[in-house]
């Protein structure tokens, strides 16, 4: 089990992680969701003892990473995909890690085959695509057959096929009762992948919100452009639909299916020039969420 307790990390005057507490249980894929700059990477780096916490603690199975007997056999970590010497071959990269962790060399070929890199094993990493580097990082994390996997934005650079593979892999990993903790700033990714989710923004836990609610908010509204925008506004209001004029001739409609907006316009004989769904970005959703929390607090 991963436990983060009252974790704070300060860089100069910036608070990257602010009194953050959460737990990650085994047997499930737990998503770590937040917009870019929310403090996800910093939290994971503290958890892996690459970065020192200003206050609080982060432990795996009750111990700090540096106190694990054999970290590679207990925890596999996939951080950014750029951590390679470009002149070293993919297989040699894994051999170095295996050597240091006392993992038998045959395991190197096993994990290479597992991530689908067996054919490129002898090529130098310089010649690898971003997706191949990401696979190589994942292979490295699996060397010691760990029970805990920690991944920081693992889908970055992976092609759709790679993402599907990763999703299935993480699923079966968790189904074996092991722990998966995977960060992402892409809502759809987490929604597809995770059983549970830890949501942070500006270094703090957003505990009052469920993934469901965020997805609902991220759906955004409907944008309608019409030469008869005033009539449309009246018709929508009469039907109990909230809408607001965002620019001349354009209405933003909230919390209403796009079909209903179109049907209402047709029923009233209103000409439409545009009818489109507008998805909100995660950043926008989070901004709105924080605004509402601050208002609630005030």
């Amino acid at each position: 089990m991963i436990a983060v307790e009252r974790l704070t990390k300060r860089y100069g005057s910036t608070l990257a992680v602010d009194d953050l507490s959460f737990e990650v249980e085994p047997g499930a894929v737990t998503g770590f969701l937040g917009p870019n700059g929310a403090g996800k990477t910093t939290t994971l780096r503290v958890l892996l003892d690459l970065v020192t916490a200003t206050a609080g603690s982060a432990t795996i199975g009750g111990r700090r990473y540096r106190d694990l007997e054999q970290p590679v056999h207990e925890v596999g970590a996939v951080l950014e995909a750029a951590n390679f010497h470009p002149g070293r071959g993919g297989r040699n990269h894994l051999r170095v890690l295996a050597q240091a962790a006392r993992v038998p060399e045959q395991r190197v070929d096993e994990v290479l085959a597992l991530v689908g890199l067996a054919d490129a094993a002898r090529k130098r990493v310089k010649a690898y695509s971003l997706g191949m580097r990401q696979r190589l990082t994942i292979a490295g994390a699996l060397l010691g057959e760990p029970n805990v996997l920690i991944l920081d934005e693992p889908a970055n650079g992976l092609d759709p096929e790679g993402i599907r593979w990763l999703r299935e892999f993480l699923r079966s990993f968790a189904d074996q009762g092991r722990t998966v903790f995977v960060s992402s700033h892409v809502l759809a990714e987490v929604a597809q992948l995770a059983d549970r989710v830890v949501i942070i923004h500006r270094g703090r836990l957003i505990s009052h919100t469920s993934l469901q609610e965020i997805m609902e908010r991220a759906k955004g509204g409907v944008r309608v452009r019409s030469p008869q925008v005033d009539r449309l506004h009246e018709a929508l209001t009469a039907a109990g639909v909230t809408a607001s004029l965002t620019s001349p001739g354009v209405l933003a409609v909230q919390e209403t299916p796009i079909e209903r907006v179109g049907e209402l316009a047709a029923a009233n004989g209103i000409v439409l020039h545009e009818l489109s769904a507008e998805a909100a970005t995660l950043e926008e959703v989070f901004l709105e969420l924080t605004r509402s929390t601050e208002e609630a607090a005030a």
Partner: protein, 245 residues
């Protein structure tokens, strides 16, 4: 520890840099050895064959640079992240790298001395001179091995102190080309305590202005401990962030 050491040595063996620099050193040794024998008369060569083993010491530059790269190269390429994930106790990593640096320096010294011998012996025979390795030559060879071994560790120590690889390598050259001379001017009678003079005491046969061999070794090792200690405590221990590429 032995697993970590072999991992460090494997890192060195699996990139081309080591082979490139070893090749460059052997080329220098070849040129210097041929020149030394070609330019001396047979009678001089019969008297004094120390010059045969003079060139390998120029390998300290390569060994210093490789030592630096063992450490700061990991930050340059971001591989330090994975190294520390396998071995989160950083002092273990530093120690393994110091030993790897020493092994590297020793290997470079042995390789270039053997190369000088393999090249020099037939050339001497061509000139009709017998190969006779006297005490001075033996001392030079042993000294070169000692100095190169320590330089490998000095490079690692410097890399622990200066994470930026380019900056660390610039420091190596600035030291060798400028700072050492400046210090010798400034320190006058105490010049024998500079790193360069400490190394000189290990390899030199004339100890007029130098420390004794033993004191030279002790002082050079103290420099290693100082660099690695300060670097390990205050720099290598810092946060390791993701690198931007």
């Amino acid at each position: 520890m032995s697993a970590l050491l072999s991992a460090e040595l494997l890192k060195l063996r699996t990139t081309r840099m080591v082979y490139g620099l070893l090749g460059a050193l052997l080329a220098i040794v070849a040129i210097a050895t041929v020149a030394a024998i070609a330019s001396s008369s047979a009678s001089d060569l019969a008297d004094d064959q120390e010059g045969l083993f003079a060139a390998p010491i120029s390998g300290i530059v390569f060994v210093l640079v490789l030592g630096v790269m063992l450490m700061s190269g990991e930050f340059r390429h971001g591989t330090i992240t994975q190294t520390l994930l396998v071995t989160p106790r950083r002092w273990k990593v530093l120690l393994a790298k110091l030993v790897a640096g020493a092994a590297l320096g020793f290997a470079f010294a042995v390789a270039s001395d053997l190369f000088a011998l393999a090249l020099g012996a037939p050339l001497l025979a061509l000139k009709g001179v017998d190969l006779s390795l006297d005490n001075d030559a033996a001392r030079l060879v042993a000294g070169t091995m000692g100095v190169m071994t320590i330089c490998g560790m000095l490079g690692v120590g410097l890399g622990a102190l200066i994470r930026n690889q380019v900056a660390a390598i610039v420091v190596v050259f600035a030291w060798l080309l400028i700072v050492e001379q400046l210090l010798m001017e400034l320190l006058k009678d105490n010049a024998k305590y500079t790193p360069g003079e400490a190394l000189g005491a290990i390899v030199g046969s004339d100890h007029g202005d130098l420390l004794s061999t033993r004191a030279g070794i002790a002082l050079a090792l103290a420099y290693v401990v100082g660099l690695a200690g300060v670097g390990g405590r205050f720099v290598f221990s810092r946060d390791v962030q993701s690198i931007q590429t």
